[in-house]
């Protein structure tokens, strides 16, 4: 009995553990500061300079000129410059938001359907789950190329299918035409990420106790009503997490657009346009300003999510 550690002994054990914890965390924190915090700060700093790609250290501080600047000409006319009055930038913002909204909405609905199917018990369920993992496993660039081939205007199989069914009467240049380029990007993105959505929703669905359905069935409640009144409210947290993750992911989309519809104004997103300015057009600082704006938009989304959702991310609500 007398060998039980005293209170002060407890404390020193705790302190010892906390000290060890600090040293365990230090390498990871150093790595994250090195690859995330510092480059982010530098990007923001670059956005207030006129740095060019070829001369990274020769930039002068020019304040907000990359974002917005006003100049009065000798004729008395005022000219606004900067990315905030750049129609190409606003086109990219509009494209990105439209893409994010449409793709996430459709992916949620389709993901919900797939998850409900996978939650039912039937023969060959394992095979179906394996099948839907295939689009997820294929690299984005590869899926962009595969779909670019399938959507090819002359030799593509999609046009062939639609023609033979009679849905269209002439071949469509899906990726090249301004009217359809966005549909092409949406199609591929939905194909590729619906599995991810479905799996996250399925995890939520499997938490719902089965006897609830049993009770509803005995009470003779219509399955559709059960879905909207019971299932949907119960899986709402899982659904919200999935939607937020997809939303943030789709706001930063780059690779699919870059490869599937290169140089198309109809699909150019914020990430694409700021990289283009940074690397291809030698407007390094201007591109940095645009990527800073994209970062701010995503940061606002994250803060809203944390604030509105008040989700317990650490997983220990007891503290």
């Amino acid at each position: 009995m007398t060998f039980l550690p005293s209170r002060s002994g407890d404390l020193s054990l705790l302190q010892q553990r906390q000290r060890a914890a600090f040293w365990f965390l230090a390498p990871m924190l150093a790595a994250l500061i090195c690859v995330a915090a510092w480059p982010l700060l530098r990007t923001i700093w670059f956005s207030f300079t006129d740095t060019s790609l070829s001369d990274l250290y020769g930039g002068q501080w020019i304040g907000f000129d990359n974002y917005l600047s006003m100049r009065t000409l000798s004729s008395g006319r005022t000219v606004w410059r900067g990315t905030l009055v750049d129609p190409a930038w606003w086109n990219a913002v509009w494209n990105t938001l439209r893409f994010a909204f449409v793709s996430v909405t459709l992916e949620t609905v389709l993901g919900l359907i797939v998850a409900l199917v996978l939650n039912a018990e039937f023969r060959g369920r394992g095979l179906v789950r394996a099948a839907i993992l295939i689009p997820w496993a294929i690299p984005t660039i590869v899926s962009a190329k595969i779909w670019a081939w399938m959507l090819n205007d002359q030799f593509g199989i999609i046009n062939d299918m639609l023609l033979s069914v009679g849905l269209i009467d002439q071949k469509i240049a899906w990726t090249a035409s301004v009217d359809t380029a966005m549909y092409a990007v949406l199609m591929v993105d939905i194909w590729k990420t619906t599995p991810f959505m479905a799996l996250l929703i399925l995890a939520g669905l499997q938490m719902v106790p089965r006897d609830i359905y049993e009770a509803a069935r005995i009470d003779g409640i219509h399955p559709v009503k059960v879905f909207f009144r019971v299932t949907l409210p119960l899986i709402r947290p899982a659904l919200m997490v999935a939607v937020i993750f997809r939303m943030l992911d789709s706001l930063r989309i780059f690779d699919l657009v870059y490869v599937l519809t290169p140089n198309s104004a109809a699909t150019k997103t914020m990430s694409v346009i700021s990289r283009e300015n940074m690397v291809d057009f030698d407007k390094f600082a201007y591109g940095a300003a645009q990527s800073t704006l994209l970062f701010s938009i995503i940061a606002i989304f994250v803060l809203l999510y944390i604030w509105l959702g008040r989700v317990d991310l650490t997983g220990d609500s007891s503290r």
Binding site: A20, L25, L32, A120, A131, I138, K145, W149, I157, S271
Partner: protein
């Protein structure tokens, strides 16, 4: 309820068939195309009619594609090893030790995993030029840490939190230091989690495009996605679809096999992390 049972069952299986067909068809079609050459390539066919390996020979015979595969393998595996090493100790501290600011730290790590990669591109470019590793595999290994590390820390923390406290308490009573606890007690229990997170991080690093495109400038240092993305013919109009499909199949088959073998673990890891791999 109004429909008779056989029709309902039929409708259900029809839906299942549509889901499977929609998921699998593009990859199937890529395989069919990869075996076609010449005029056969430009005739739409739903079934494999020809079996010609010349596209594969063209891709693998070109020196650079094999080089790209090696680059990608090296970069992805080094990234995963570094991330796992840093993440195991960090997630022990995050899952097992109570200290002030832990919640905030977890939030920060989650926030980093949602970073738009374009936001750090300019700063990373400068850092990579400064370190003199532009156009080398190290540029990618360094930059991929930004998405592999938060993800592995997050998932491993979730796994480690679920390990029973009693094991650790017994070790503490026996006088084990935290380092001993991690390496001798937790690590053997963590193997399944390490395989899952490692695999997901590997897939993430293997598939990455933006950094690899920006931080390489010659054909010999390209990774597989960049090599496929920039594979082009003599002119804009002459896209070599056959070799592109062959290259796509080559890099995708191992991934698909891995994913199918580790199916259950991957699903568990994805839902535990809630982060896109």
């Amino acid at each position: 309820m109004t429909m008779p049972q056989p029709i309902k069952t039929l409708a259900f299986y029809a839906l299942v068939a549509v889901i499977v067909l929609f998921s699998v068809f593009p990859f199937y079609y890529a395989i069919v195309t990869s075996f076609a050459t010449g005029t056969a390539l430009f005739e739409v066919s739903y079934w494999p009619k020809v079996f010609d390996l010349s596209n594969y020979n063209a891709v693998l015979g070109g020196r650079n594609f094999g080089r790209s595969i090696l680059n990608s393998l090296f970069i992805a595996s080094t990234t995963v090893i570094c991330a796992l090493f840093l993440a195991v100790t960090a997630s022990y501290a995050l899952a097992r030790v109570h200290f002030r600011g832990r919640g905030l730290l977890m939030m920060t790590i989650l926030a980093v995993s949602m970073f738009p990669q374009i936001a750090v591109l300019a700063g990373l470019f400068e850092l990579i030029r400064f370190l003199g590793i532009f156009n080398t595999p190290w540029a990618m290994i360094l930059s991929y840490t930004i998405f592999t590390l938060p993800f592995t820390v997050w998932v491993l923390t979730t796994f480690m939190r679920d390990l029973p406290v009693e094991i650790e308490e017994a070790a503490i009573v026996d006088g084990a230091t935290p380092w001993i606890i991690i390496t001798r007690v937790f690590l053997p229990l963590l193997w399944p989690a390490l395989v899952t997170t490692g695999l997901l991080a590997f897939i993430g690093a293997w598939n990455e495009f933006l950094f690899a495109l920006t931080f390489t400038s010659s054909e010999t240092t390209r990774t597989v996605p960049v090599a496929i993305g920039l594979l082009s013919g003599a002119s804009q109009q002459e896209i070599p679809w056959g070799p592109i499909m062959a290259a796509s199949v080559i890099v995708t088959v191992p991934l698909v096999l891995l994913v199918l073998i580790f199916q259950r673990k991957i699903v568990a890891g994805l839902t535990a992390g809630g982060v896109k791999g």
